[in-house]
Amino acid sequence: MNVSESKVIPVSAPLPAKAAARVAPGTQPATALVLRILRGREGWLFLAGLLLLWQLASTHLHLSSKYLFPTPWVTLRALWVSLPELLKGTVSSFIILVPAYLLAVFAGIAWGLLVGTTPALHRMFAAFARLASPVPPTVYIPYAIALLPTFRTAAGFVVFIGVFWPVFLNTTSGAAALPQRYRDNARILGLKKGEYLWRIVFPAALPHIFSGMNVGLVFSFIMLTVAELFGASAGLGRFVQYYADYADYPRMVAGILYTGLVVLLAIELLERLKKRALFWVK
């Protein structure tokens, strides 16, 4: 088994940690050292490889204009010079995104806890939720822009919808999955509905709620940047759209990279919050 394994696995395939350890003694000490240093940093290695590929592709593949496919260096310079504009765009985007996201999270949790613990309410609302939740919120954008007084309220509304459903649905299922023994304990202690929801059902459902908030966070950026393509005067999505229209591709690519970075940071922040809130989960 051991022998055949080390023979069959091609060198380029990602080695499982155990197999790598078994291979190491047989190989050169230098190779073993490199392998040991790389363990746990494979993600960075992949990114570095990607960057190299990008560099090579943009310099050696004369597929199209070099303006359409800027080198990493050119993109980095574009990122640097547009940083002030990008920061302004971030502020403009966040003025819409943050309140809409927080409001949707709050509404989704509150309504989800109520619906998840009240069978009559659940029966009443379930059919509507099944109908309305799968509608991609992007389809509301043109209508929301037409209907609501300002672009900000329209974009906020669409973000709200995009965040509300995943948070609501996850909260509901989390509340419904409350282990019987916690329910029994709450009944023995004579907790009132409000206390019961806040002190028992809410914390018990938190793992579900956080996965809803995570999906909602990614959704909120999608909703917002798409909405900004329609009619914003500033913002991250608007930035990308604007420079694409003027064929300034280095700036456009820089805008995409920057947006990805902002989303990554937001997700990381939520992850930290989750770790703190769920310290009691084993």
Binding site: P179, R181, Y182, D184, N185, R187, I188, L189, G190, L191, R199, I200, P203, A204, L206, F279, W280, V281, K282
Partner: protein, 286 residues
């Protein structure tokens, strides 16, 4: 020393000098009969131990008394009042000692105190919570969360929480099951002290698998048989109190009692085995 199996059928529901009265209580889960005709009158202040094989319905009986389940037939009263749902009058220690894992030990206990004594300030509650934790030997762990505690520590925490309710009726489902012998002995004596120490003795229903524990603690032992669960013996334990553990365990009366319990279990087991063979016999005939 012992009395008839049928527990005083003349006692009517609603008598206030009785802590608990169960009249012809039956219960089913999804059409399967779990408990049949359980008829039991427990005077206020009596310490009753419930013995029976695994799966015979001890937990179910406790849940019925607690008001977490409703009997399929029959009725239950507690201190004269009909049991229709859970109440702070009847504190429960569950078999799976389910403390809330997102609250520290002190928060768990202080939540119970907040419900039982709403007039207290938060600071008073916390002090009292620490006192209850000290009772069960967890004074140094009040900050800890259930996930950081051993099974035995969680069980003691759950006991502290229920004691903190100060209920006149205590329903305890194998509360000392996960404890080491030293803590077990300590908590048995703590329970006895709390039971007899309060101005009005508490009524206790205590589930255990341990015959010695039942005899040491109880005024009375109710034995349940399995499939369906029903009372197969009702034994009065009239050793004087306070009981000296070692002298008691060595006494001839104790040995006799233990023999009686074992014989009853055996009898019930044989009856069930015979019933099974009878079914198999029929099946072979087909």
């Amino acid at each position: 020393m012992s009395q008839a199996i049928t527990a005083a059928p003349e006692i009517t529901l609603g008598r206030t000098d009785y802590g608990l009265i169960l009249q012809q209580v039956s219960f089913e889960y999804a059409g399967v009969r779990i408990l049949e005709d359980v008829h039991l009158a427990i005077p206020a202040g009596q310490f009753v131990c419930l013995l029976g094989p695994s799966g015979c319905g001890k937990t179910t009986l406790l849940r019925l008394i607690a008001g977490l389940e409703t009997p399929a037939a029959g009725a239950i009263t507690s201190h004269g009042e009909s049991v229709t749902g859970p109440s702070l009058e009847r504190g429960v220690v569950f078999q799976d000692y389910s403390l809330f894992p997102w609250m520290s030990l002190r928060e768990n206990v202080s939540l119970a105190i907040a419900k039982a004594r709403p007039a207290m300030t938060q600071a008073e509650r916390q002090i009292q919570a620490e006192e209850y934790l000290q009772l069960v030997g967890l004074q140094d762990a009040w900050r800890k969360y259930p996930g950081e505690l051993s099974g035995g520590m969680q069980q003691r925490g759950a006991i502290a929480r229920t004691l903190a309710l100060g209920s006149p009726v205590l329903l305890m489902d194998e509360p000392f099951g996960a404890l080491d012998p030293v803590n077990r002995v300590k908590l048995q004596d703590l329970l006895l002290a709390i039971w007899s120490g309060s101005e009005r003795k508490k009524t206790v229903v205590f589930v255990t698998h341990d015959v010695e524990e039942a005899i040491y603690l109880g005024d009375r032992i109710i034995m349940l048989g399995a499939a369906p669960g029903r009372i197969i013996d009702d034994i009065t334990v009239d050793f004087p109190r306070p009981r000296a553990r070692h002298a008691l365990l060595d006494s001839r009366e104790f040995q006799a009692l233990r023999g009686r319990v074992a014989a009853k279990f055996h009898e019930d087991l044989i009856r069930r085995l015979e019933a099974e063979t009878a079914i198999h016999g029929v099946a072979e005939g087909i």
